[in-house]
Amino acid sequence: MELLSSLGDGFLIALTWQNLLLALLGCFLGTIMGALPGLGPSNGVAILIPLAFTLGLGATPALILLTSVYYGAMYGGRISSILLNIPGDEPAMMTCLDGYPMAKKGMAGEALSLSGIASFVGAFFATWGLILLAPQLVKIALLFGPAEYFALFALAFMTLGGVSSTNQAKSAFAAALGLGLAMVGVDTQTGVPRFTFGEVHLYDGLDFLVAIVGLFALSEVFIFLEERHGNANADSRQLQIGRLTPPMSMIKQCTPTMLRTSLLGFLAGVLPGAGASLGSFISYSMEKRLVDKEGTFGKGDPRGVAAPEAGNNAAAGGALVPMLALGVPGSGTTAVLLAVLLSLNITPGPLLFSQNPDVVWGLIAALFIANFMLLALNIPMVGLFTRLLMVPPRILMPIVAMVSFVGIYGISGSSFDLLVMIGFGVMGWVLRKLDVPLVPIILGTLLGNSMEANLRRAITIDNGNWFTLFDSPLAIGLWAVAIIGFILPMVFGRVVKGKMRQRRDEEGAISD
């Protein structure tokens, strides 16, 4: 009952005109960003953070806007998968498998509306899962001392590369690079400058928003410049959408699939290092094994459209659980959302639920509202989004670059930050070429300082004894999971990734 009354309070917060409008705007922009190939949820949210920030939005409205973008992007990715056979973002990759064949059979409208419903089901159940699971996780997290937190951060880094990276050395490199960048600036505990090389601009440290926008958004512009597929997708293809409501029998046929994959996707989302791409992948594989008796999967089976869509949207909701309850994000986009919270001076983690219940429950209520809005936007208005898909990258990418510059300049008003952002953009491009994941870098710059603070606190409390880090059963458990999580992908990662890549060789290291 306590949950329901908190949720009621949340709805009171979310149901203001400003917040509803922001949620609608976020859903709309998110769907567009998800649908456009080249702009995924992480870049989408990254570009909008500085704007939400400079517009002076409060914590709750800013979060409502950006999580609506996040959910929206998860919905939007399917549109180009189905119509063009080009995934709008990575999690939508599996939707191509059956979505495009359906569209070729003249059932594009049915595929779009069915996948919209599947997205809704996945996201709806995942939001309930978030409500039920997050407070339980908070109870565990309250037992954590500084040593356990340090182990938890280590766990996050060691598992983040996870299944999406084939080379754990490169994930470790990325995490260390991010942590190293976080160290730049004046040490908060002793007041000595570190790695500043006498540059006054660096005394405050590097702004992680600058790093995020540079790594995600600008590097994307460079990728497009390199390949100059500026004209790709611009050829006006015949987009026959057809009827926009799936027949009842089709929904009925897909219901068990949607429910099963929602659960599976949610679990994949909660686990560190998995994220939405894996959620949709295992959902599709499991359904194929379970119900594909006639071998219709891959040839336009509606269940093959419903499964990955319910799975990836449920995983998107699931990934919010560790981010909100522990302050440790499990995927790329939630890492970016963590940056939002940190730049609003809110520290996620167990105390968030007791200190800022308005933020948490307002956000959860907003997720429900956004989900209904997205269902409404995505079924009747899907035609509008398909027309926006025709915007070629040669027009889109300059806009993306310029909006990124405006956002960063708006925060600090300094050209120096713009130069740092360009530097990060180039670095992001090189690292993506070398197949180094970018998400651990972001997570490192975000969490580096609090990771170090916890380390120093733990050891100072125990009079300089470093073994205090492995002193409690909880800490040992976390270390064990971390080490298993680091080693396991070396064995299985290649297999899973290989299967995911079999279908589509995508350039880009942005997962989620």
Binding site: L51, L55, T166, A169, K170, A172, F173, A176, L177, L179, G180, M183, D187, Q189, T190, V192, P193, R194, F195, L218, V221, F222, F224, L225, E226, E227, R228, G230, N231, P393, R394, I395, M397, P398, I399, A401, M402, V403, F405, V406, Y409, G410, G413, S415, L418, L419, I422, G425, V426, W429, K433, L434, D435, M451, L455, R456, I459, T460, N463, G464
Partner: protein
């Protein structure tokens, strides 16, 4: 080969980082760990992972031909110039020029690129400055 160079670069980076960490001046009031320890741990991880990358390289990535690299370098130069001149000539002009350049290099026709550039610049100015009230760089003409 790329991974080997990258790995060696990473090792050098780690050594440089560790040296910079040793150079941190300690304050006389310090906690048990001090400001150097964590950066040194990071340098170790950085160095070890780079070493592994250098010893066990992945498949060679697909590098673009020289012309495309020059393309990216030129875009970087334009962006740096944009950052430098933004406060001098004002948001609208700087943005229009930079966006025109990018649109042109991404394959627009010259006229199309100019239209994209001006449209982007004026569009952002109207939405973000006039409607949303974000402060943008002012040029000598006030915009």
């Amino acid at each position: 080969m790329s991974d080997r160079i990258f790995g060696i670069f990473g090792v050098l980076l780690a050594i440089g980082y560790a040296m910079a960490a040793f150079a941190i001046e300690e304050s006389f009031l310090s906690d048990a760990v001090g400001p150097k320890a964590f950066p040194l741990i990071i340098a170790t991880v950085l160095g070890l992972s780079s070493l592994v990358i250098a010893i066990k390289p992945d498949q060679e990535p697909h590098w673009p031909p020289f012309a495309r690299l020059a393309e990216i370098a030129a875009a970087v130069v334009v962006m740096v110039l944009y950052a430098q001149f933004l406060p001098v000539i004002g948001f609208v002009f700087a943005t229009a020029l930079a966006a025109t350049y990018l649109a042109w290099r991404l394959g627009s026709t010259v006229l199309g690129a100019i239209a994209t550039g001006v449209g982007t610049s004026v569009g952002i100015y109207v939405i973000f400055h006039l409607v949303l009230g974000l402060s943008l760089a002012r040029g000598p003409l006030g915009f």
